[in-house]
Symmetry: C2
Subunit: 347 residues, 2 copies
DNA sequence: CGATTTACCGCATACGATTGCATAGATTGC
DNA sequence: GCAATCTATGCAATCGTATGCGGTAAATCG
């Protein structure tokens, strides 16, 4: 008598057949009533009425797994981002979710934490549990990986990342190399910095690598010398930015400005600087990247390069759904979203 | 010749039957080889070999939708949080994801943005696309809603939120009312504040409501007068905290301390105060709630009440999987995770 | 050496929904 | 008045996988 209700409570979910039985029609008729789109076959008004009532009283919900199996659309897309804790990705996910919600699609979010294995696991996971479309921010995945994925599933794919050049995937990317070049040049020519440091991230195909390239060529074009000890690597996290800046401060030649590859690391870097008793931007100027909300919470307010993740997410989702709807079927498109320098107090 | 490869590329995914054909066995044998757990029926070594090879060469991946249909486990859990952009939830999600990954489960994340309709939509969505378990942070959903959900699906459920009292769901919650009472008392008795404000959030069953209750009784027990004009409501966002604090500052009686129901709003509140030319904590002391990373990024560093979302997420996921594994089947358990005041500079 | 067990495997069905085809009655055309 | 058309519905196959049951050959037993 204690928990008897537990066992008989497990009433199995109501299926179409249950609805059909109650409405005194066949299961196929129920299906046709619900997916009214099948306009070639008409349904009697009175029958439709009975079915809808039965659906109401039973609280029927279609089992989407079944529909997916039958080869239908799953009405679900998957999004993989690189770091759930990085505010940069939130507007991107949000925008994509909004577009998806408008189409009555569900969204499955995954995050890779910048780890290759997690990216691979995501792809396998999506192959086992097919979805209609995938949006992702791959850091390590190569075009070959994407190729096997597309080859095996035929799933529409939209990615954020300039390094992706697969002919069938839509790509969104920022002009971060260009803006990095410009900002380094600006630090030198306008702000008068002669020694400019750089905090990046390991990996050869990541955005950080492209920014590093831009950094070196800007130095070269400005006639500045490249000093390896003012270039340090982190892992996108504030803590790693803190440690990277510490290493720079311990080096023989302290720079008067440091370009940091994202705002989270910049936060850590600023901590390291002020903790050393140095002033920003008087002693060392800092420029970040992303323009996350916290950039204007901290003091001094962070001068940073704004990306526009909301627009990126919107573009990704829009292109993805264009493909799902069959509106577009050509080769992958490439959409550039321009970055912009936001001048605040740290540089 | 341009894009001819586009049309014939859509090779449908490889199924078990394909594997069976290649290995010269029946489809059921393939199934048994892969789910070795079916130990009642033995498989010949040589056959197993052939099957595994076929799986390899074809790159077979099981279609989990089919398994789900067949009544098997979906190997997927869903998590609904209240705000993707609130860092408080990140460790919670992360911890749950880690536990799930350890069990080789996939995770589907959704966020409600504190909106009732989104919460309902999430539940419907999970009913249509069944999962093995659900973790959520409901703000508006009542026990009745949970009841219909459990009744219809029989899905295991673990939630964060003290207000949930459904007999079959596992609940994790913080002792936020207690700590709020203590901190208000501390602000008065130790810090000497006579006029203490409060920035909360609308809604009668949210955590903010409980904290408000604790606030009023602490005032009463301290013999302090309750002043409605120093109590303002926001929506958990920094902007709303900014506006709430503005309204407080415009009121006739300005408090010397303000208790803010979460750190994001506290950030906005601090902005409003400093922008007014007032100093923290000398003119107005601020106490936040959550201890998000940014609490120690801003200046002055935010004194706040730490919750431990990582432990919460771990507890939620652990309890959920205990139920999925059948280790536990009794009534819902309630786990309290204690909060703790982190004294920094803002109070 | 015949009978029973054992090891191994295939057949067929079910899960819940979609959809081509068949069919029953009603209506129209000539 | 009978064929042709239309309307409204049911039947049955199908998607990919799991599994109860039955079947065959080899092995063991008495």
């Amino acid at each position: 008598m204690m928990d008897e209700h537990k066992s008989d409570r497990r009433q199995q979910p109501v299926t179409m057949r249950d609805v059909a039985r109650l409405a005194n029609v066949s299961q196929s008729t129920v299906s046709r009533v619900l997916n009214g789109a099948d306009s070639r076959i008409p349904i009697g008004d009175e029958t439709r009425q009975r079915v809808m009532e039965a659906v109401e009283t039973l609280g029927y919900q279609p089992n989407l797994h079944a529909g997916s199996l039958r080869g239908q659309k799953t009405r679900m897309i998957a999004i993989m981002i690189a770091d759930l804790s990085n505010p940069f990705y939130h507007p991107l996910v949000r925008a994509a979710q909004d577009v998806a919600a408008g189409r009555r699609y569900d969204v499955m979010i995954a995050n890779s934490d910048h780890i290759l294995e997690r990216e691979q696991h995501f792809m396998e996971s999506v192959m086992r549990r097919p979805v209609d479309g995938v949006i992702m921010v791959p850091i390590h995945l190569s075009d070959d990986d994407l190729e096997t994925f597309i080859g095996r599933t035929g799933t529409a794919l939209a990615v954020l990342g300039q390094h992706v050049r697969h002919p069938e995937v839509d790509v969104v990317f920022g002009n971060d190399d260009l803006i990095t070049y410009d900002v380094i040049t600006w630090l030198h020519a306008v702000k008068g910095h002669e020694q400019i440091g750089f905090i990046g991230v390991t990996g050869s195909i990541s955005a950080a690598a492209r920014r590093f390239q831009a950094y070196t060529s800007a130095l070269e074009d400005a006639g500045l010398q490249f000093r390896p000890d003012v270039v340090q690597l982190g892992d996108w996290s504030p803590e790693s930015g803190y440690r990277a800046m510490q290493r720079i401060l311990e080096s023989t030649a302290t720079p008067t400005a440091v370009f940091v590859c994202n705002d989270l690391m910049a936060v850590g870097a600023i901590d390291a600087i002020t903790q050393r008793g140095l002033r920003i931007p008087e002693d060392i100027a800092i420029v970040g990247f992303d323009d996350i909300p916290a950039a204007s919470w901290i003091r001094p307010r962070l001068t940073t390069i704004a990306q526009f993740p909301k627009q990126m997410g919107h573009a990704l989702a829009t292109m993805l759904f264009e493909r799902l709807d069959g509106l577009i079927s050509g080769p992958g498109r490439r959409v550039e979203v321009s970055c912009r320098l936001i001048e605040r107090e740290s540089a």
